[in-house]
Amino acid sequence: MKIPIIPIFFRSFFLQSVWNYERMQNVGFVFSLIPWLRRLYSNDKKKLYERIKAHYGFFNTHPYFASLLIGIVMRLEEAYSRNEVDSDQVMRTKTMLAGPIAAIGDRLIWSTWRAFCGIFAVCYYILHGQFFYTSANIIAGILLYLIVYNFFGHLPIRLLGIFFGYNYSKEVVVKISKFQLQKVLEVIRMIGITILLFSSFIYSISISDNFMLAALFWTNILLAIVLSRKIAEVVVFALLVILNISLLGLLQ
């Protein structure tokens, strides 16, 4: 069947609009599914409302990859409407896939892609040296971040997820996980680290006329690397700021 991909794609952005502790993304999920359910049960209002209520239970997964799951559930609902599967199977598949998809999404998007884009944007600015905040073109970095992040990561997943979920069903999840992801993520991380180190180097050269500051710069980096393993990021930041102020005071 031809799927109303645009309305569902549009609705998928509201997945977390009514996020709550009890059932998490349930409202947004059912909201996204409604165009499809309407089409399937256009002649049977009772069935329509029954299915809506059935999908109003607990649901939680990665917001972008939820599209994948929406596509898969669409396919399952279609099978259910033809009495090929029962409601239990639909719900069970939905619950079972939600967890792993969340895990994949977290690792792929939040841990890697978003971090990489962030590094990219930050380094674009830092490369301008000590007074980057006056000399760099502010808008350029921001646009770079948003365009790269959204057009090469976010939006394709939300849109194509629905398509692939509907056409390839459960197997697609396993395919994604097998797709040598580890290697790709390794590469992206390596590039990220390289860019960051390179930019730090350029930046530290720009402050090298004040030797003490440059030394403190690299000391901070090393300390932060070591401390972040055990302590939360914001706490590390606070600690090091205090340390820096004291050191600067002592050495002045």
Binding site: F14, Q16, S17, V18, W19, N20, Y21, R23, V27, G28, V30, K46, I52, K53, Y56, Y64, D106, W110, S111, R114, A115, G118, I119, A121, V122, Y125, F132, Y133, I138, I139, Y145, L146, Y149, H154, I193, L196, L197, S200, I207, L213, W218, N220, I221, A224, I225, V226, S228, R229, A232, E233, V234, V236, F237, A238, L240, V241, I245, L248, G249, Q252
Partner: protein, 204 residues
């Protein structure tokens, strides 16, 4: 000016960006690297907006919304830092600290309203057939509007308090020798963030 038209319209604009955190889209408009410069531009201090944006972005790159840890809200932290910077006469640490505090407060408020949502959703459970879809649509609107309004209110109420503390704390601090050190600190602050990011990337 602790409370002015400027603050009001900045609150209205930044609250829109807050929607991107959870209730709409996750396009990353809410990230410090975007919000910092934006608030800076609106407030007339684009350079410091960018500086704060870069610093906070580095800290928050490795902060991931999973499970139990609840860090201060990044968007609030960076926008308050930038807005308070204007009142700090160069003393960067104070606006940073206040920003993080504000982020912490906002997060508490956010968690509270999420609990409220749990009660709201039962409205659909009790719905009769014809009204189900309408109620779901209304819930979505509710989610968007309530988040927006609560954020605007938060900014309008907390910012005057924050700026007041900024002015006075900075005045207090500037009497002491620390002041010059803090200005130097501005130059090397990015290094802490860089270290945090490197730690995260290397470990994984």
């Amino acid at each position: 000016m602790l409370f002015s038209v400027q603050v009001v319209y900045i609150s209205l604009i930044v609250s829109l960006l807050h929607l991107d955190v959870l209730v709409f889209g996750q396009f990353m408009f809410h990230r410090p690297i975007i919000v910092g410069p934006l608030v800076g531009i609106l407030f007339g201090i684009p350079e410091y907006g960018l500086l704060m944006g870069v610093i906070f972005e580095l800290i928050y790159i490795s902060v991931i919304p999973v499970g139990i840890k609840i860090p201060p809200d990044a968007t609030t932290a960076v926008s308050f830092s930038v807005m308070c910077y204007k009142f700090s006469s160069g003393c960067i640490v104070i606006p940073l600290a206040i920003g993080i505090l504000a982020g912490f407060l906002y997060k508490r408020l956010d968690l509270f309203t999420r609990s409220l949502n749990s009660m709201v959703i039962s409205w659909v459970d009790t719905a009769e057939e014809e009204t189900i879809i309408k109620r779901i649509n209304m819930l979505i609107w509710y989610g968007l509007v309530s988040t927006y309004l609560k954020t605007v209110l938060f900014y309008l109420i907390v910012f005057p308090v924050a700026s007041y503390f900024t002015v006075n704390l900075c005045r207090f601090v500037s009497q002491y020798q620390i002041y010059q050190n803090i200005v130097n600190l501005t130059v090397i602050l990015p290094s802490i963030g860089i270290g945090v990011v490197l730690s995260y990337f290397i470990e994984k």
